[in-house]
């Protein structure tokens, strides 16, 4: 079901996205809510990162690990770099073995507005991660996420 919805979403995105964005989906004002809605009822992770952020780079193996060990936990990777950087973003994802992970890229240069639509407490520091449990309870993390922190959360997050 989720898959079908995602495919539909992807189709819509491809229809409006500029060709250079490739497999990346444009992330706009409603995108965070759309991601949460698409994954409602199950634990999922939305991870914001940038190609210019070294701790984000160091964090990437954790997301590959999550996909390998917990394929039941959807992951959304959102680059804050902006559409002109799409090629670099895709290259970094591929480098980290995350080429097929659902990925978005900031597609609105009004980044304060975009951040506000995600979480008004987020001041732009990266990496920034939202751990959303099956009941919609959300934890916001600033800084590099370590596997043990993620595993802890997965162990205690309500599964339904």
């Amino acid at each position: 079901m989720i898959t079908r919805r995602r495919l539909l979403g992807l189709g819509l995105m491809l229809a409006v996205a500029p060709a250079r964005a490739g497999a990346l989906r444009p992330f706009g004002l409603g995108s965070f809510e759309e991601i949460r809605r698409a994954n409602a009822g199950r634990a999922h992770v939305v991870a914001f990162w940038s190609v210019t952020c070294a701790p984000c780079h160091e964090e990437m193996p954790v997301w590959r690990e999550l996909r390998r060990r917990r394929p039941d936990v959807p992951l959304a990777l959102v680059s804050t770099d902006g559409l002109p950087e799409a090629a670099g973003v895709e290259a970094r994802l591929a480098e980290h073995g995350l080429a097929d992970a659902p990925a978005w890229i900031f597609a609105d240069e009004r980044v304060e507005r975009l951040r506000h639509s995600i979480d008004r407490g987020w001041r732009g520091e990266l990496p920034r991660t939202y751990l959303v449990d099956a009941r919609g309870g959300t934890e916001a993390l600033t800084g590099r996420v370590q596997w043990h922190a993620l595993a802890d959360w997965l162990a205690r997050a309500p599964a339904r």
């Binding site: 902006g82 970094r92 009004r110 520091e125």
Partner: protein, 385 residues
Amino acid sequence: MRRRAAAALLGAALLAACAGARAQHAHGGLGASAAFDAQGRLWAAYRHQGRVAVRASEDLGATWSEPRFASPENEPVAADGDARPKIATAPGGRVYVTWTRPLSRPYTGEIRFARSVDGGHSFSEALTVHTDRQEITHRFDALTVLPDGQVVVAWIDKRDLEAARARGEAYRGAAVYAAASADGGASFARDFKVADHSCECCRLALLPRADGSIAMLWRHVFEPDIRDHALASFRPDGQVQPLRRATFDDWRVDACPHHGPSLAEDAQGRLHAVWFTLGPRAPGVHYGRLVEGGVEAGRRVGGEDAAHADIAVTGMRVAVAWKGFDGSRTWLRALLSEDGGEHWQELALDATEGASDQPRVLTHDGRFFVFWHTRERALGVWRLP
């Protein structure tokens, strides 16, 4: 750092629904800088058509000259967030410009420099400031001119991190390097290290002082992972005084804040600074005078949404400008003190619904000007009372 954000998220969702999906295409790169010359002409450098463009204004920003390009064609230029082209002026119609040229590997770059010796009509062929030519991080250039005319460029540099890695050792953060030109920017002497263990992604603040030294304030990584600020003094010949801790917010985080400080000096030689922290005691933007071992006359700048403050001082008058997003508009505000930072008056200068750069505060002839480059109003200038 961990925060419950569910309530905020609900509010944000409603807002997002109201705002609709009027997504703009990201043009990217509003990062701009400005500087006065001795005649009161205002100079601006920013990214235009992918290159560093320089324009001058004879009327305090009301009108601007046609852009002249300082960077070569087809050379990428960083102009986002804390990375932006820098501009400085010197007597005799000299205009200096630096920028970061991103290279192909992630986080790598070169610090580039070009100058005009004919009042901004033409710019020299760009040169790379540093002698280190590895394809590694040289980013977040900062530029200043000393009273004796020496040109000083500082930047964030990862050569020590790379060397430690090659030895299989750990290295905290990045380093700050600098290089000076004694021939008005025709060439730069060998680069030298100012400090180890800087944060990797925040702008540096340089302050030229009357004694020919440069004070530098930057976000540091104190052990084990405290991203507060450090202050050091160095000379263009490479003499460096040991750094001291300048802010004490205890922000422990392994992240890129993308939010650097600003530094200015008053007539008594006291250092005034603004900086951003998400430390446990008082998250937000702060002002304070930097004294040995502490901060004097410290205060919060703006509300919870305050960001990217800049500071300038003339005599004993201090001005701070910052921006903040209230959910629908990005505000430009200023604080003004007539008595060296003891008492303040707050001013609302403008607001925009579009994308905007960080504001800068400039001084000329004892007066303050705020420079703000936004999508709605390019190279805007506000004169403070």
